[in-house]
């Protein structure tokens, strides 16, 4: 008798869990490593609000994210760039109609030591510094000191923006120092009055001096109105117009009170 009741309980439990799994929403998010920290933070908050939804997130780059959206192997594809025309053609071929959602802006600011007298720099001069063509601050009207160029590891999203918006696909010269995180760049610049580097806007503090680029100060406002040159929008793509949990998630991330607050706390510029 007792054995029997255990047996029945076990069956009931199994059924209960199986239906639970079948009912729970599963959301797959893939793509750009730049968007990854936003996606992670927002997904955690979303899962607290909606305990029945399970979200799995992975990186792999914008290209892989777009590919997964087109193939239908992910619900949401993250991208740090807009969809390419080739990808649109491929998507239409496969019967998909990718929909972009702009979720945040990435804004990278060139920084120097607070004692540096330079306030403004042009994109051309920044490029020349990072190519190793301008080597001394006196070429820019500063004191006669060698410029110490600090860059990021080539696989970071921050480097990607820099390469895209400043370097114009030219290579950063090998003599540039490499730091593995925004925090390490802040640390290195605040200790070196010859240094120039770049960090995400959220990492600015009083131990650094932010440079204006082409006369425009990098801020949330200049990023949103498009006048600040070293910034880019970040996207989430869905295969077609989203429905169900995917739509809920997109709405959550675009909500100024919820997702957009997390966008800001992950170090990016929110839309509102």
């Amino acid at each position: 008798m007792k054995k029997n009741s255990y047996f029945i309980t076990a069956i009931l439990l199994t059924i209960f869990f199986m239906t639970n799994i079948a009912m729970a929403g599963n959301l797959v998010i893939k793509g750009s490593t730049t968007v990854l920290p936003i996606a992670q933070q927002v997904a955690e908050a979303y899962m607290i609000d909606h305990p029945d939804v399970k979200i799995s997130i992975s990186g792999g780059g914008s290209g892989n994210g777009m590919k997964a959206v087109i193939d239908g192997t992910t619900d949401i594809g993250n991208a740090s760039r807009f969809i390419k025309s080739k990808e649109i053609e491929l998507a239409l071929e496969r019967g998909a109609y990718p929909v972009p959602f702009r979720i945040a802006y990435d804004c990278i600011i060139p920084v120097v030591h607070p004692s540096n007298t330079i306030d403004n720099i042009t994109l051309e001069n920044l490029k020349a510094i990072y190519e190793g063509k301008i080597k001394n601050w006196n070429e820019l009207g500063g004191p006669d000191r060698k410029i110490v160029v600090i860059s990021r590891d080539t696989s970071s999203g921050t480097y990607e923006v820099w390469e895209d918006k400043v370097m114009n696909k030219e290579r950063v010269y090998p003599g540039a120092l490499l730091q593995a995180s925004n925090g390490a760049v802040v640390q290195a610049i605040s200790k070196n009055q010859n240094a120039v580097g770049y960090v995400g806007i959220a990492y600015l503090n009083e131990s650094l001096k932010a440079l204006k680029v082409n006369g425009v100060e990098g801020s949330e406002a200049t990023t949103l109105n498009g006048t600040y040159p070293i910034s880019r929008p970040l996207f989430m793509f869905t295969r077609n117009w989203p429905i169900g949990d995917t739509l809920n998630f997109i709405n959550f991330i675009l909500n100024p009170q919820k997702g957009q607050k997390l966008v800001k706390s992950s170090g990016f510029v929110p839309l509102y």
Binding site: T154, P174, L177, K191, N194
Partner: protein, 297 residues
């Protein structure tokens, strides 16, 4: 009864054999994995271009996978740290084993060994926040994150290894040798340099090589203080990027099983060969020049 005892004995043998096997198994699995993930890059670049190429641009289009600047950086950082750590480590060992009194020795030795207990990230942070600005001001350098700073920090890390192993070697020199030397009229200093050090040279050499092998494989310190410029250094105050720093900085975001990923694992293989070579060398020296008894000197 005797059979049961024998059976038990055999079980014990199997039991301990399994434990001994476990570490070998784990090591061989890691090595197989390392090669599986690293070798595919050589279908894209030749071994020669990989080892002797001077440009490391793994994410450019087209990419360049040349690790010569990284190899030179690793070797030079290790070399200069050895220049600092060998005299310091060995001299400390001599002092502790031969000159210091028993009580002083019992205070100093644990303190030196405590240096080994410092987490490498703490040493790296110290180098970054304290030593680097000091070097900038003192030498008037453009940056304090450079080869010299890294070598200095790595020397801190290898001194305890070198000191403690050398001290053991010096301490185990047979006392007859020392007594004979002193009886012949040699001073204490002469005894140390002409008798005790030659007698313990195999132990000291092993200690030095193990200390250097620790320095070449160290990651966190070089990532934080070496500067990270992937170019061939022309002075000891140039920033460099040693092999482990490059792997640690880039691995997290290299696309899984992409060329960059394979290239980083191949860099790991190169690093593995270096430490492997150091260990073989240490083993060889400690066997070949082993001091057996007092008669062989």
């Amino acid at each position: 009864m005797a059979i049961r005892r024998q059976l038990k004995e055999q079980w014990m043998r199997v039991f301990f054999f399994c434990f001994a096997l476990a570490s070998i198994l784990i090591l061989s699995m890691i090595v197989v994995f390392l090669f599986m993930e690293g070798l595919p890059i050589f279908s894209k670049v030749s071994v020669k271009d990989f080892l002797l190429g001077i440009y490391w641009y793994p994410t450019s289009d087209p990419p360049d996978f040349g690790i010569l600047p990284l190899i030179i950086a690793s070797l030079s950082v290790t070399f200069f740290s050895a220049l600092l750590s060998i005299p310091l480590g060995v001299m400390t060992a001599v002092y502790l084993a031969e000159i210091a009194g028993r009580r002083l020795r019992e205070v100093i030795k644990p303190i030196v060994e405590l240096l080994a207990a410092l987490p490498s990230v703490v040493i790296g942070f110290f180098g970054m926040v304290v030593v680097s600005p000091f070097l900038q001001d003192f030498f008037g350098l453009s940056t304090g994150l450079n080869l010299f700073n890294a070598a200095l920090m790595l020397a801190f890390m290898s001194i305890p290894t070198i000191c403690s192993l050398s001290e053991d070697a010096i301490y185990s020199v047979p006392v007859e040798l020392k007594e004979a030397s002193l009886a012949l009229g040699a001073t204490h200093l002469e005894t140390i340099f002409r008798v005790i050090l030659p007698a313990s040279i195999s132990g000291i050499a092993t200690a030095v090589i193990l200390g250097m092998s620790r320095a070449i494989g160290e990651t966190m310190v070089v990532l934080m203080v070496a500067g990270g410029a992937a170019m061939i250094p022309t002075s000891i105050f140039d920033p460099v990027r040693p092999l482990p720093a490059s792997i640690a900085a880039e691995m997290a975001e290299a696309p899984f099983r992409g060329d960059h990923y394979y290239a980083l694992f191949a860099t790991g293989i190169v690093l593995f060969f270096f430490t492997f070579l150091f260990n073989i060398l240490a083993d060889y020296i400690s066997h070949k020049y082993r001091q057996v008894g007092a008669a062989t000197l």
